[in-house]
Symmetry: C2
Subunit: 488 residues, 2 copies
């Protein structure tokens, strides 16, 4: 553990959670005062290219962890530490001076996605720029901006009242974008350190600008690399064209076999165990209809594609999917190279929903590929690290209902209960290893271009997010969660 | 033109073509004496990485041209010049002191294929190494080694007799490996310079070790880049998996539509105009049966693949083919990236036989892709520079019969008359623009790994090749080709 830092403010006799006396400002007033300072801090955090998937950025990932630990200390959190794992480290800090109040574990991740294709960025991804009310940078929404929302709400409480209305344990992971390969081992070996009554995760978004959302379900992920080899060497396409098997042809035929023309996955048993959507879920999902026209215009998409019989939200939140994430083989350079490649490969991943079994899906894909591959092609399916199961909790859980009250108060409208198509492996791990209920509420816009060029943070949404977290600590402080552990 | 160099030997009173007096050595004796010197010269030539398709090697291509022009001058050729084109230059040199003898245009190319994947080379591709009777280097067989065979036969004649039995015009192109995009314009604007009675091309191989071959037909080439785009940006595969169209999926489906499971091309009209093989052609082709077992073992190929109803030779020499030469899109790096790519692309080429029309094939492929592409996918088919039509001549042409006599004398066995699956765009150009018959006879082994890692030159085959060209000049010197121009 690091040496306990000097707190910014001395402990106060003000009762935590009330926050209003004539002599003391409210946390909300501190938020107003620290707006510029907070943005400058976030900008500094965003400048660190903490791309977890690229070995050449390992030092940057470490630098981002150190930076965040220092920030936590600076705002008054205690015991800030960068804890090593077998991969990138986890940042921990806490504040545990609210006796008889719940202890809340707050999860975020400080690592970011790669930035390629770099030429599509309008400004350098690690040189944050404000433009039209947006802060443009890799990680601005996913997830550094949301980590910043949390640390600013914490500072607001500590500066205003000298205390927090709840006990907090902050953890920030450095491997979320590569599927949290070492997070399970980390959590498993730090059960006591991480013991809490509830978990809050802000790695998602609002339903629409001004419309908060609580996510009660996430899709899981299994990720593969499929390699198809037909020779030990590239071959001259003139001398051998017509007799040599072609691995790019074979790979294409395998991929073409994975889905029907509508986009329904053809792998037998793929849909086994998929939990049907209830009428209430379909009603909630319909409250935030997916804006097909805007999506198509924003991303220059000709037409949506996917499983028939479901709305877009139902398809991304309640149904599994399969996608090719990358494909490569043979000559990709300028001009012509007249070869038949020796091999071709693809990255293929599946998003899974309750109650699919990731291992069963892997096995089904493996045996299907073995069956549909052309006889001349050697196909190897390698499952990558970082898979995670799907996660779901119940809408009427007290934690989710407390979150609903806090959000409704700040936004002026009730949050919608939705799921997400994304995967947060950490949520699955926390749920299983710590037996603690999770509240997933994020503050960024759906259209923040996470994982893509020109990722952005909408600054109005960021501002209301800071207030929402201040209110959330207030609401959770009044909750008795001790009896609610392990809802599953 | 360069200044006329000092010839290595003074003109002699010996009658060219006889080459044997008690006082003068034979060309064959000179070949024996200059073996090491010739190999050293070839090695120096191979050290220049003249990769024509890669812009960063443009200076190396130029250096190889300069090097070759100097070599030509050094061995006694005249008027050596590096002639600029809109792309890489052509090297020219001549020797025109054999009145009343045919003038023979000799074509070769000094550019080479790229070397990737570099890690599969057992020695650096531009650092030639002798190993087990092979000279390992990029370009050792295709085509620098064969250019060396020619220059050494020329030196042998000039050193032995002070003259050649024929007039020679040597040209070496620098863009063969990228489909000869500027060769047609070069030839068209140098018709007088290149005027000749016959053309000899050594860019092919023997049928098998010790079995010479004369190629009377070549496949043509059309080369495309197919780009499939479904969005203007990569998309998060969690948030959009199930609704966003996937370009790698679409590209794979298009490619899967191009051939049936046996490898027969499904593009309508693709086989239009294909000239049926005669019984005599099938008989000649069968004289050099394709060794399937050796091919499969050498290249670790599970099974041959291609159009049913034809032997391997018939498929590669007499039937058109279609291959994916490269494919790419999305994330190809280490680890996982959870995106749906914005686009994916492939290089696709067709090998064409007489009497297919390259433009008709292009048009057929374009309209077929437009038809089979998924509706959500924008597909763009770009035809690359460097296509060429197929070429064929008649087996009983006097030039081919003269070549047959020379080869039979040196190898002790009659050459087989075959075609090649490869394309030499230059041959098509020479045939059409100079109206001159071509003799295609090469000296390297079929298994020389041209275009692939560990390209090699079999040194025994190289040695007999030098003797065969000496004999070829002798044989062509006795031929009256003036009446045989333009056999087509």
């Amino acid at each position: 553990m690091r040496e306990n830092p000097q707190p910014l403010l001395e402990a106060s006799v003000i009762i935590p959670g009330t926050g209003t006396t004539e002599s003391m400002p409210t946390p909300e007033e501190i938020l107003d005062r620290t707006r510029e300072e907070g943005l400058a801090e976030l900008t500094g955090f965003l400048r660190i290219p903490s791309i977890s998937s690229q070995p050449e950025h390992a030092d940057d990932v470490r630098a981002a962890a150190d930076h965040l630990a220092d920030l936590y200390t600076h705002i008054g959190l205690e015991n800030a530490e960068v804890i090593d794992t077998a991969g990138h480290p986890v940042v921990y800090a806490d504040w545990l001076h609210a006796p008889n109040k719940p202890t809340v574990l707050v999860y975020g991740h400080y690592d970011v996605q790669p930035v390629d294709p770099l030429d599509l960025w309008t400004s350098p991804p690690f040189d944050p720029v404000q433009q039209n009310g947006l802060l443009l940078a890799r990680g601005s929404s996913d997830d550094k901006g949301q980590i910043a929302i949390h640390w600013q709400a914490i500072r607001a409480w500590l500066e205003a009242t000298g205390a927090l209305p709840v006990n907090l344990k902050m953890i920030a992971e450095g491997e979320e974008e590569i599927g949290s390969p070492h997070f399970e081992a980390f959590v498993d070996s730090h059960r006591i350190l991480l013991r809490a009554d509830a978990c809050v995760v802000s790695d998602s978004g609002v339903a629409a600008k001004g419309v908060p959302a609580i996510e009660y379900g996430l899709r899981g992920l299994v990720y593969f690399e499929l390699r198809v080899e037909t020779a030990n060497s590239d071959l001259h396409s003139g001398l051998y064209g017509g007799i040599a098997p072609n691995p790019a042809q074979a790979l294409s035929e395998i991929i073409a076999h994975l889905k029907d023309p509508n986009g329904r996955v053809l792998v037998p048993a793929f849909y086994d165990g998929v939990r049907p959507l209830t009428d209430e879920e379909r009603r909630q999902f319909a409250r935030v209809p997916f804006d097909e026209a805007t999506f198509m215009q924003t991303y220059a998409v000709e037409a949506l594609h996917g499983e028939p019989g479901f709305t877009p939200n139902e398809r991304t939140w309640g149904r599994p999917s399969l996608d090719v994430n990358g494909i490569w083989g043979g000559y990709q350079g300028p001009g012509n190279k007249t070869i038949i490649p020796a091999w071709a490969a693809a990255k293929i991943s599946c998003r899974l929903v309750p109650d699919q079994d990731p291992e069963a899906v892997s096995a089904a894909l493996r045996s299907y590929i073995a069956k549909v591959r052309p006889a001349y092609a050697r196909a190897t399916l390698r499952e990558m690290e970082g898979h995670g199961g799907p996660w779901i909790t119940e809408i009427d859980h007290p934690l989710l209902q407390a979150g609903k009250r806090a959000l409704q108060r700040v936004y002026g409208t009730a949050p919608v209960f939705i799921r997400s198509g994304g995967s947060i492996g950490a949520v699955d791990v926390i749920n299983r290893h710590l037996e603690v209920p999770c509240l997933l509420a994020g503050f960024v816009l759906p259209d923040c271009r996470a994982h893509a060029p020109n990722e952005s943070l909408d600054l109005e949404s960021y501002e209301i997010g800071r207030r929402a977290v201040v209110e959330l600590w207030r609401e959770l402080g009044s909750l008795d969660l001790a009896r609610q552990k392990n809802p599953h």
